[in-house]
Amino acid sequence: MSKKHEIPEVDIVVDHEAGVIREVKPQQTRSKKGHERRVNTSIYVILVLMSIIWLAPFVFLVFQSFRSYLTESGGMEAYLLPKTWSLDNYRWLLTDPNSHFLRWYGNTLIIAIFVAVLQTIIVLSVSYALSRLRFRGRKLIMNMVLVLGLFPGFLTMITLYFLLKQFGLTQSGAIPGLILIYVASSGMGYYISKGFFDTIPKALDESARIDGATRFQVFLKIIMPLSKPIVIYTILMAFMAPWGDYVFASYVAFGSEPNYNVAVGLYRWVNVNDYQGYFTRFCAGGVLVAVPVTALFMALQKYYVEGVTGGAVKG
C-alpha cells in the first residue's frame, strides 16, 4: 500500500487583531468530526434499539406475571399492561395445594447447592492435576476426554436411566439421582480452570517445595488462595446449570410430578398442559426463578466475564 502523506492536524492563521499567530483546526478535520459524530449517533441508536430488543421480553414477562389467571388468563393478548394488577398468580404458586411450585423450587435449589459444592471440588481437582502435576498418562487422559466429548451427552442418559432405576434413583428418587449424574461426569469440564492454573507461575510451587511443603500443601496453601476468581467462576457455573437443565431432569424424573425441577415443571405447563390457562402462572414462576439467579449472577459478573474471556482464548 502506498503511503499517503498525512494532512497536518492544524492550520496556522495570523490573527491581526490580537497580533498573534493562532492554530486553527482545518476545515477537513471539522467535516471528519461531523462524520465521527454521525457514526457515533447511529451507534447509539443501534445500541438503544438493541437494549430494547434484548430487555423487552423480560419486561413483558414481568407484566404478564401480574395478570390474574382468573380474569385475564390466556397466552398472549394484544395488550401488555395488565388491566388490573394482581398477585393472584404468585399467590397460587406459593399457597395453592395443587401447585407443586415450591416443591420444584426446593428440589432445584437442593440440587444446585449439592452440585455447586461437589462439582467444584471435582473440577478443581482434575484441572489442578492436569495443569500443574506431571505424571504418566496425563496426555492420554486429556485426549480421551476430547474424544468422549464428541459423543452426544444424551446418549449416555439412556443407560444411566436404567442403571439409576436399579438403585431407585429415578422418579421419586430423582433428586439424588440427578445430583449423581451431574457430578459424576463433571471432571470432563476442566478446560477453563486448567487454563487459569496454567497461568500461575511454576516458580511458586518450586520454591514452596524446596521449603519442604508437600504437593498437597502447595495446592491448599499456595495455589488455592491465588485462585479465588476461578473458584467463584466454577461454583457459579455449577450452581446455575441445574436451574436450566431440561433434558436430563425430564428423563430421570419422568412422570413423577413432585420430583420435577423448575425447568421441567414450568415447561410442562406451557407445552403439555393447558397452555392458555397456565401461561400467566408460568410467567410468575419464571420471574420467581429468574430474579434470584440473575441477582446472584450480576453480583458475581466480574468472575464470569474473566472465566469466559480467558476460556475462549485458550479453547
Partner: protein
C-alpha cells in the same frame, strides 16, 4: 508451491489451498495411520512377551513369599511388612472372586460373560397369573461389559502385584528399607498426589460416561426397541442392520429423513456459530469504539440476558412468536398483516425464526468474548494503519478479523461442536416442529440429530436407532474436528501461539 506463492494468496485462496492439501495428503495419512496401528500391535505383542518372560523369571528367582503371591494377591507385600498395599491387593482379589463366582449364578460375572454372545436365550413367560422371568438382555449386556472391564482390571492388578514382589525383593537385597504403610499414605498427598486428585473423578467418568457410551455403541448393533424391551422380551445382536436403516437410500428406511435432518443440523450449526460470531464481534466493536459513552451500561444490559435461565427466556420468546403470540397479535392490530405469520408452522419460517432467536441468545455471550480479545489487540497496529490512510472497514478486515479468527479458532471449533448438539435452544423453542408426513420417525423440520435422538428415546423407546444416530453424530463431529485440526493454525499450534 513455495512459501512466497502461498503468502501471496488471498484468505479464501489459502483456505482452498489448505483444504486441497488436506485431501491430497489424506491417502498418505491414512496409510500412515494403518502403519501406526500395525506398529502399535507389534509393540503390544512385544510387551506381552516381555511381561510373560518377566513373570517366569520372577517366579523362578523369587522366594516362597513371592511365589505364593501368584495365588494369593498381596501375600508378599503383607509378609514383607507393607500391610496397606497387601490388604488392598487381597481385598481386590476377594471382591473379584466374589463377583465372578457369586453363589447365585444369576448374578455372577461368569453368567453374564457366558450369555454375552446371545444376550439371553430364556424367554420370560407367564404361568397362569405368575410371571416367570427369564434372561434380561439389558443387564446381560451391561454387566457383560462391566465384567470385561473387571477382568482387565484384575489382570492389570495381578501383574502389578507380581511386579511389586520382584521390586521389593531387589530392593531388600540391595540393603534398602521398604516403604511403610504410613509412608505410602503420606505419598498420596505428595509424590502421588495426582492419584488422590484423580481417583474419584476418573471413577465417575468411567462409570457414568465411558461405560454408558460403550454400552450404547453396542446397542447400535442389537434390535433393542419398543418391541424388544426387557424384562418381558429379549433382544439380540443384528449386526449392521440399524446403520443400513439410517443410511440406505430405499424409501422404506429412515435414510431420507436422516439426510434431511443431518443437512439442517449442519446448516443450523454453521449459522448458529458464525452469524453469532460476526454479529457479536460487531456489537463488541461498537461498544468499545472510542467516544461511545456508558460502555458499562450497554454491556450490563446484554450480560443480564445471559443470567436468566434459558428455559424461562426461550419458552417465553417461543410463545411470543406463536400464532396467537404477542408479535402476531400486535402486527395484526396495527394492520400490517391480515393473517398471522406462520413462525412455527411453516418449515422455512420456523428455521429462520430459530436462527434469529438464537442470535438473540448468542450475541451477549460472544460480545463478552470479543471484548476481551479486542482489548488485547495492540493499539499501535491501528495507529499505523490510520496513518496509512486505512478506513474503518479496511482496518477491520486486515487487523481485527485476522487477529480474532486466529485467537478464537479453537473456540469456534468447540462452539460448532456444541451447536450440533444444541438441545436446549431447539427443544425449548419448537420441539422440532413443524412435523411432516414426509419425514419418518416423528422428525420435524427443525429437529437436529440430537433432538430427534431424544424423541426416539423418550416417545418411541427406539433405543437401537438412537444409539446408531449417536454414533453417526460422533463420526460427523470427529471428521469436522479432524479437518479443523489440520486447517486452523491456532488449534494445531496452540502452545506455540501462547
Amino acid at each position: 508451491m513455495t512459501d512466497l506463492d502461498y503468502l501471496k494468496l488471498s484468505g479464501a485462496g489459502k483456505f482452498a489451498y489448505n483444504l486441497g492439501q488436506f485431501f491430497r495428503n489424506l491417502p498418505g495419512r491414512l496409510l500412515g495411520g494403518l502403519k501406526g496401528i500395525g506398529l502399535w500391535v507389534a509393540r503390544l505383542f512385544q510387551s506381552l512377551g516381555k511381561n510373560l518372560k518377566d513373570l517366569v523369571v520372577t517366579f523362578r528367582e523369587g522366594d516362597w513369599k513371592t511365589r505364593l503371591s501368584y495365588l494369593v494377591m498381596g501375600f508378599g507385600s503383607c509378609a514383607r511388612g507393607q500391610w496397606g498395599r497387601g490388604i488392598l491387593f487381597f481385598l481386590f482379589q476377594t471382591l473379584f472372586n466374589l463377583y465372578m463366582f457369586f453363589p447365585n449364578a444369576q448374578f455372577s460375572g461368569c453368567y453374564y460373560l457366558a450369555k454375552l454372545n446371545t444376550l439371553g436365550t430364556v424367554e420370560t413367560y407367564k404361568e397362569g397369573r405368575k410371571t416367570i422371568y427369564g434372561d434380561n438382555s439389558f443387564f446381560i449386556l451391561l454387566y457383560g461389559i462391566l465384567t470385561i472391564f473387571f477382568i482387565i482390571a484384575m489382570i492389570y492388578t495381578w501383574r502389578l502385584n507380581v511386579k511389586q514382589n520382584r521390586l521389593n525383593e531387589q530392593f531388600l537385597k540391595s540393603g534398602h528399607k521398604l516403604k511403610s504403610t504410613k509412608e505410602d499414605m503420606a505419598a498420596l498427598l505428595d509424590e502421588q498426589f495426582h492419584k488422590t486428585l484423580l481417583a474419584l473423578p476418573t471413577l465417575g467418568v468411567a462409570l457414568f460416561t465411558i461405560l454408558p457410551i460403550i454400552f450404547m455403541i453396542l446397542v447400535a448393533f442389537t434390535n433393542f426397541d419398543a418391541t424388544h424391551q426387557p424384562p418381558s422380551k429379549l433382544f439380540t445382536w443384528v449386526g449392521w442392520d440399524n446403520f443400513h436403516q439410517l443410511l440406505s437410500t430405499d424409501t422404506t428406511s429412515y435414510g431420507d429423513t436422516f439426510r434431511q435432518v443431518l443437512l439442517w443440523t449442519l446448516i443450523w450449526a454453521f449459522f448458529a456459530t458464525f452469524l453469532n460470531y460476526f454479529l457479536g464481534m460487531l456489537v463488541a466493536i461498537m461498544i468499545n469504539k472510542k467516544g461511545i459513552k456508558l460502555k458499562k451500561l450497554w454491556r450490563t444490559v446484554l450480560v443480564m440476558t445471559i443470567a436468566i435461565p434459558q428455559f424461562v427466556s426461550l419458552l417465553y420468546v417461543s410463545k411470543m412468536f406463536a400464532a396467537d403470540g404477542l408479535i402476531n397479535t400486535y402486527l395484526m392490530k396495527w394492520g400490517w398483516i391480515s393473517s398471522p405469520v406462520p413462525f412455527w408452522t411453516d418449515p422455512g419460517w420456523a428455521r429462520f425464526t430459530i436462527i434469529l432467536i438464537n442470535v438473540w441468545i448468542g450475541i451477549p455471550y460472544l460480545m463478552l468474548i470479543a471484548t476481551g480479545i479486542l482489548m488485547n489487540i495492540p493499539a499501535d497496529l491501528y495507529e499505523s494503519a490510520r496513518i496509512d490512510g486505512a478506513n474503518a472497514f479496511q482496518m477491520y478486515r486486515k487487523i481485527t478479523l485476522p487477529y480474532m479468527l486466529f485467537v478464537t479458532g479453537p473456540y469456534l471449533l468447540t462452539s460448532f461442536t456444541g451447536n450440533i448438539n444444541n438441545f436446549n435452544v431447539i427443544y425449548l423453542l419448537s420441539q422440532g416442529k413443524p412435523l411432516s408426513l414426509e419425514l419418518s420417525g416423528n422428525a420435524g423440520y427443525t429437529d437436529l440429530l440430537i433432538t430427534w435422538l431424544y424423541k426416539m428415546t423418550v416417545s418411541d423407546t427406539n433405543y437401537k436407532l438412537a444409539a446408531t444416530m449417536g454414533i453417526l453424530v460422533f463420526v460427523v463431529l470427529a471428521i469436522i474436528n479432524l479437518i479443523a485440526y489440520n486447517l486452523i493454525p491456532s488449534v494445531k499450534n496452540e502452545e506455540d501461539f501462547q
